[in-house]
Subunit: 175 residues, 3 copies
Amino acid sequence: MAEFTSHLESKSYKTRYRAEFITITDDIEQAIARSGVKRGTITIQTHHTTCGVWVNENEKNPIGPSEELGYASDLRKIMDTFASPALEYGHNDICDAHNASGKRNTHLCEPDENGEIHECINGHAHAQAMLMHVSLTLIVEEGKLLRGQWQQVMLVELDHDRERTVSFLVQGVKA
Amino acid sequence: MAEFTSHLESKSYKTRYRAEFITITDDIEQAIARSGVKRGTITIQTHHTTCGVWVNENEKNPIGPSEELGYASDLRKIMDTFASPALEYGHNDICDAHNASGKRNTHLCEPDENGEIHECINGHAHAQAMLMHVSLTLIVEEGKLLRGQWQQVMLVELDHDRERTVSFLVQGVKA
Amino acid sequence: MAEFTSHLESKSYKTRYRAEFITITDDIEQAIARSGVKRGTITIQTHHTTCGVWVNENEKNPIGPSEELGYASDLRKIMDTFASPALEYGHNDICDAHNASGKRNTHLCEPDENGEIHECINGHAHAQAMLMHVSLTLIVEEGKLLRGQWQQVMLVELDHDRERTVSFLVQGVKA
């Protein structure tokens, strides 16, 4: 009779720019190794509403001097066509000393000494979250993540540079 | 050696309008509490093809007199740009007494006494289901849903007002 | 005390065309039956980056002589509006003997005897993968997949005709 076991850990990532795709497969493999689970699942969950996790190729297509111009550029173009940062969002119409007629007066941080509220202007990022996953459950087999040749797990930043936390829960049997 | 346990329950929701976002986090917390699971996962699964579950902020942005004009309005605009209800869908071209040349003659309910078939005209809702999740698996820790400050679980209606069923399976260990 | 058990198997599918929706519910039911699991979950995971799994209606709407003209046609229209195959993608700008100024020089297969690299021109398929799932975890109850009347599990091809592998992990208790 196999013994069921579980292992939970969290890791923080410092993202650098909007639409950054950060490969976290190695961190996942390490969490699986630490868990001792040989067969089971790993649930990868962000703690946020404007970033996500995704499995795809992590090709850094070297168009130009920056990785930002590469593969992520294709995907950002599609995400921004889906929900453009340039659109008007009710979410961004924040009521503060600089915008007395703003319609949004909930879920706001405290105003500064000038009565200005420094919320992220990120209506597009909430909408783009429909294209990503808050959580992914993937298969663990022989103590490793089951994945095809091109599959990598990525943390995808939809907002500006921020600190992001991701939790990894490994569950299954040890032998 | 930890004891593996599981707990399954279902709950029905009466949705009120298209693109309604119903926060169900409290129901999820109660299901976890009833399960006795301290660490594990909860799988939240709808029984339908034109609604979904989603994790995001549940801000009801009070633009105007109705919550329907708030946060959900931003997201509905994006969803309807993705797959407009005004587009023509083969799915909606139902063959009945009123539309003898209709191309769709499968997966239909019975005609009424006048030969009319009262199917939902919801081709857009099936397409918008690509933006939502039929099922989400989230982490349970210390007997509670693991979630960040702004994360709420929502049932999202993509069709008209209907009765919807969601099942909650909690799996893990009690101590 | 219930005994935790797990069962893993994989199956290959030969897809026939882009935007093919292949119903795999029967294969899933058979994997569950072979596992002996009465209550638990099944995690359905593809090994690829340009196909996905999805739960929806599998209506083959018989518009015209081919299933390709039916229900899948509605969805393909929406997917191609989201990320058109006709757009320019950096991913497709492959550097080889025929395109010396191509910007992509990573993640490529070997050139043929004429220096041509036969990569799939599938930037759109990577982007459309944002609409699908690499992995789905669904509930098993009474030894069967828990699902509503219209729910079917589908493998969705986003690229051309290819061989695709899907793994099924069933976890839970036998009684």
